[in-house]
């Protein structure tokens, strides 16, 4: 009887420990990890080029990665690693996309992914707080890799943390982090010059490209949530 009691107590402790671990597995030591993986491909990155002969808008909805963020102390250990396949960039015109992905421009064959890595959060200002959310304006500092070239970059962003609720579960499982960010890059900084002998940059493609990122991540991987169902 005594042995049975010991077994029952040990089993209860083990089960409680496993449950606690399972509930908190999306928490990092300094906040949460938000997975950028939307089964409905609603996360977008958009680029805009403005030039005298032509304005071009392109987009991709295939951003993946993760963001570590602490809604209680956003400047502490914020980190993000986001990737976009070059071949997913779409301007609406197949021939133009072919050129864009080709060796004369972004060269998807040699440099298949665009990467944004954030390793510091600066100047985080809490602009709105409710019972279930916190919204910040901040500057994210990191490295942007395009065409095989890595450059340091500062990106102003607006970020909202939403606690899990019935409303948030309609979008993604877990707590949510919504991010809106806009920044610009110079094509010359990434050694993107266009085809040799053709002065396209400046005439048909802007020297400066505006980039907008709109994404929402969740603390539970949607693919795992689907498996459980």
């Amino acid at each position: 009887m005594k042995r049975l009691k010991q077994i029952l107590i040990m089993s209860t402790l083990v089960i409680a420990g496993v449950s606690a671990f399972a509930q908190n597995k999306h928490e990092t030591d300094n906040g949460y990890r938000f997975y950028i993986e939307d089964p409905m491909n609603r996360n977008t990155i958009t680029f805009k080029s403005e030039a005298p002969l032509e304005d071009i808008i392109g987009t991709s909805n295939q951003i993946t990665g993760f963001i570590n963020f602490n809604p209680e102390n956003p400047q502490k250990n914020g980190f993000a690693d986001l990737n976009v396949p070059v071949s997913s960039l779409n301007t609406g015109i197949p021939m133009r996309d072919e050129h864009l992905h080709g060796p004369g421009w972004l060269d998807a064959g040699a440099f298949p992914e665009i990467n944004l890595e954030i390793n510091e959060i600066k100047k985080a200002e809490l602009i709105k707080e409710t019972d279930n959310s916190r919204t910040f304006e901040l500057t994210a500092v990191g490295n942007f890799t395009l065409h095989g070239i890595n450059r340091e970059i500062d990106i102003p962003a607006r970020i909202t943390f939403l606690k899990e609720s019935d409303m948030t579960r309609m979008r993604l499982p877990g707590h949510l982090l919504a991010v809106r960010a806009d920044f610009t890059i110079q094509l010359a900084d990434y050694e993107i010059t266009g085809p040799e002998g053709m002065p396209i940059i400046g005439a048909k493609v802007g020297k400066e490209i505006k980039i907008s990122v709109n994404l929402i991540g969740g603390t539970v991987l949607p693919s795992l949530a689907q498996e459980k169902m």
Binding site: T44, T59, G92, I93, S133, T160, L162, T168, A178
Partner: protein, 111 residues
Amino acid sequence: MNRVTKKTMLAAIILSSVILIIWQITGGDFYTKYQVVEEIEKKLDQSDPLLAAGFYGNSTITETIVKNEFRFGLLPTASGIFDKHTIAVTTILTPLWSAVIILQFIWRKKR
């Protein structure tokens, strides 16, 4: 100008006008497209928790959409001769008016 010549010119002018009207109605784009990538103003849903959280702020929010829509353009964007992107204002009007001018020349010479 004889009757046939006049009728040919008139038909070419009418067809050109129709082509240009179609070009304007479908957006007046530079290039022919069957898929459009554009930024539109995002319609905010009052039940969206991000709205209450202040995520959208007070500025106009845009979103980028990709939609299947035909836009007749001035110039083609074809990858090959049989690509549907070959159809454009210039690829229709250039052969049309070239034919009209050649026919005019031939008829004048016959007289």
